[in-house]
């Protein structure tokens, strides 16, 4: 009997604690919420972020984009939840987070990863009055394979393929032995076309600027299984990068969200290895190890988000698929270009000239690498001689290209 009574006591203590917590008025010191009058003017945008907000990569680039929007439109407020993935938050789905954000007043919800495509669709269906933006993805692409007629669901993606070509070119220019390794995330259409674009850029520059035989070029990609390291679940990108550096690859490209390639490259260089790396995603990527950085191609989400949010505020946004282009006149213009490119110190003056030449060619259309003859990895024909790839062919690239090493699916 005694234990029973004590148990009752314990539970009532607990409930009492909770009840008193509810009843008590919030203390004055509690962080003040935005003043009430501004509330009807404040436009809340929710963002569901797959990885850590400060990852010096993909996720931080999105956060930078939101800062740009807030600068241009001071009455827009962002609410973020980061690390929305089953490793970091085991019992949380993207759609649940979106529900929470909407409950907190978000009128627009942005999902920032390809992995959220099902969650984005679910959210859009459940909340027809909310604009749902899936950064990457193709559900709103009428001409695409996976079109879902969901008017409040849109896609935004920077057309980064030329950026990857520039990255590939810089890597080839920076490599002495032609062994280029890539630490890739998971395999899907996006990563296949990016890797292929990088390879095309590398092969072009290796052949045309370095005047070397394309057969000497070894372009290898290792997929870790996710956008970033999940211990025990993915391959460890630190180890994958080390394996490249120790395996004679003198240039390693990062295609993941996090900076392991740069960090391990720095260690390898300090240990006396002649290695260089190429970063991805984040503008400040070369600052991690400036002396061995060949360059970085980064996303500039600001203008794209600004445009969508403006239209959403006006109530004129309907779900569209946006493949945002670079501004070839001024690649690093924060207001106009969907991606930018920053050359690294390790590239060298002579190679910089070649790279500028290459960028110019891509910009004016004189260099088009999505052009036949091109074969797939298994030897089958992708593009016949002279044939140009359509957007669909590029977006839905089913395989890596001939000459690349690494699994296609």
């Amino acid at each position: 009997m005694r234990t029973k009574r004590l148990k009752v006591l314990a539970v009532s203590v607990l409930l009492g604690l909770l009840a008193s917590a509810c009843a008590a008025p919030p203390p004055a010191a509690a962080p003040a919420q935005p003043a009430a009058p501004a509330a009807d003017q404040t436009f809340t945008v929710g963002m569901v972020i797959v990885g850590p907000m400060n990852d010096k990569g993909w996720n931080e680039a999105h956060v930078e984009g939101t800062k740009y929007v807030m600068e241009k439109m001071p009455n827009v407020k962002f609410e973020y939840v980061d690390k929305v993935n089953p490793g970091d938050r085991p019992n949380v789905k993207g759609s649940q987070v979106a529900d929470e954000l909407i409950a907190k007043g978000a009128k627009v919800v942005i999902f920032n990863s390809d992995d959220f495509k099902d969650d984005a669709l679910e959210t859009a269906k459940k909340h027809p009055n909310i604009v749902v933006i899936h950064a990457s993805g193709d559900y709103a692409w009428k001409e695409g394979k996976n079109y879902k007629n969901q008017p409040n669901l849109g896609n935004l993606m920077s057309k980064m393929e030329p950026g990857w070509m520039i990255a590939g070119c810089a890597s080839a220019l920076g490599s002495e032995n032609g062994k280029i390794g890539t630490v890739g995330p998971l395999i899907n259409e996006e990563t296949r076309r990016y890797a292929s674009a990088a390879y095309l850029g590398a092969r072009y520059c290796w052949e045309n600027y370095k005047k070397r035989d394309p057969k000497e070029l070894q372009f290898k990609i290792t997929w870790i299984g996710f956008w970033f390291n999940i211990p025990g679940v993915t391959l460890d990108p630190t180890k994958v990068a080390d394996d490249f550096y120790n395996g004679g690859f003198d240039v390693v490209m990062s295609a993941i969200d996090t900076p392991e390639v740069a960090v391990q490259g720095k260690k390898a260089a300090e240990a006396g290895k002649a290695v260089k790396y190429h970063h991805y995603d984040y503008k400040g990527g070369c600052e991690l190890a400036p002396d061995i950085c060949l360059g970085v191609h980064y996303y500039n989400w600001g203008p794209g988000y600004l445009d969508i949010i403006k239209r959403a505020m006006e109530g004129t946004y309907t779900g569209t698929w946006t493949w945002a282009q670079a501004d070839w006149k001024d690649l690093n213009n924060p207001d106009t270009s969907a991606f930018g490119y920053i050359k690294g110190k390790a590239l060298g003056a002579e190679n910089e000239k070649f790279l500028d030449q290459f960028i110019k060619g891509l910009g004016d259309g004189s260099i088009d690498l999505w052009k036949g003859p091109l074969n797939f990895q298994d030897g089958s024909v992708f593009l016949k001689d002279g044939e140009k790839a359509t957007d669909q062919q590029i977006w839905y690239l089913p395989q890596l290209l001939e000459g690349m090493e690494g699994p296609s699916k």
């Binding site: 005694r2 234990t3 004590l6 148990k7 006591l9 314990a10 539970v11 203590v13 607990l14 604690l17 909770l18 917590a21 509810c22 008590a24 919030p26 203390p27 010191a29 509690a30 962080p31 609410e79 973020y80 939840v81 980061d82 690390k83 993935n85 089953p86 490793g87 938050r89 085991p90 019992n91 949380v92 789905k93 649940q96 987070v97 529900d99 929470e100 954000l101 409950a103 907190k104 992995d115 099902d118 459940k126 998971l186 395999i187 899907n188 259409e189 997929w223 299984g225 996710f226 999940i230 025990g232 679940v233 993915t234 089913p398 699994p407 699916k409």
Partner: protein
């Protein structure tokens, strides 16, 4: 009991301290977490959706704990149940097929049954390693957890990957006809809740009113004396693993058909570990599971508010949970060590 309550109070004080140190007011935190758990129908639905598998796991763990076993392998039993359920769904509704080979309700039912079988398999494996291999059930369970996750990852990354995609974010979602129905637009599924409550009710009856439950408790309290008194100890231990595996496997299947609608690497959502905590906190007495499990489901769901509205690192909720576990264990230890002396 005194020690347990004391430990619980100390853990609450420490949690408050941690919250203050991380720059927030404990009262605000509790308030936000409460409103985050019960503020909207969606949130209540999610609490219920978390509660259902948690009830199943906790009910299962009552058997193993009462038999004196620390079945840390419950996570793996959930995972393997989920794998088995996914297998059945894929067999009955092959990828790309427009309809399943069996009516959807039957398909779902079979998937849940398969989940139970998968969990039993994994539970008995741990049991066999413990009973016949004389390996501590803790290590056997942890090892099998790794194995189950490994198999799930292999399947998701290999044979069951989405067409053209190799991502650890999960398999292709199942056709909507194979999703368990929900309460309105929420994520709570009546079937899961009912299964959870049934499992709990059965457990309460078995532990209180059956010879099986009595023998289980006898074995758990004194294996040797039970054996001398004629209780078939091995059979009791294996039965405990069997039932716990069954319930955990069903929970895994429900995670697939009711929550995620696909297989993901962390399909268990760590609910097995949460179940361990719940059962330890109620001192293995199933009658108290429902309120405590409900409390932890609410904590689990409400903790999403920490980053959302308070800008706090959400791992704080992990700290909160961790402190509760730690002190629950310390309280148990103290109660066992000194409680008896006090009673005399």
């Amino acid at each position: 009991m005194l020690y347990r309550v004391g430990a619980f109070v100390i853990s609450l004080v420490l949690i408050g301290l941690v919250v203050v140190l991380s720059g927030a007011s404990p009262i605000t935190v509790i308030g936000r977490m409460l409103s985050g758990a019960f503020g909207t129908a969606d949130q209540i639905g999610r609490v219920v959706a978390t509660l259902s598998p948690l009830l199943l796991c906790a009910a299962g763990l009552v058997y193993t704990f009462n038999a004196g076993l620390y079945n840390l392998g419950v996570e793996g039993q959930i995972t393997f149940g989920a794998i088995a359920a996914t297998l059945v769904l894929r067999l009955l509704h092959p990828e790309g097929a427009s309809a399943s080979l069996a009516p959807p309700p039957l398909t779902i039912a079979l998937a849940i049954v398969a989940g139970g079988i998968g969990g039993v398999l994994w539970g008995l494996l741990a049991g066999a390693l413990h009973v016949y291999g004389r390996i501590s059930e803790i290590f056997a369970g942890l090892g099998l957890n790794f194995a189950a996750t490994g198999i799930a990852i292999y399947l998701i990354f290999g044979p069951w990957k989405r067409p053209g995609v190799a991502s650890l974010s999960g398999t292709q979602p199942f056709d909507e006809s194979l999703w368990l129905g929900t309460f309105g637009q929420t994520e709570a599924t009546p079937v899961a809740l009912i299964l959870g409550l049934i499992a709990l009710a059965i457990t309460i009856v078995v532990m209180r009113n059956t010879y099986f439950g009595l023998r289980l408790r006898a074995v758990g309290k004194n294996l040797r004396a039970s054996y001398v008194l004629g209780v078939p100890a091995r059979r009791q231990l294996l039965s405990a693993f069997f039932i716990c595996g069954l319930f955990a496997g069903v929970a895994g299947a429900l995670q697939v058909v009711g929550v995620f609608h696909r297989l993901i690497p962390n399909i268990s959502s760590n609910l097995g570990f949460l179940g361990l905590l719940v059962v330890m906190l109620v001192n293995f007495d199933p009658r108290w599971i429902l309120p405590v499990a409900f409390f932890f489901s609410a904590l689990n769901i409400g903790s999403l508010q920490l980053p959302l509205s308070l800008g706090l690192e959400s791992s704080l909720s992990g700290v909160i949970q961790g402190l509760l576990v730690l002190f629950a264990l310390i309280g148990r230890g103290l109660a066992q060590r000194y409680g008896r002396k006090l009673e005399h």
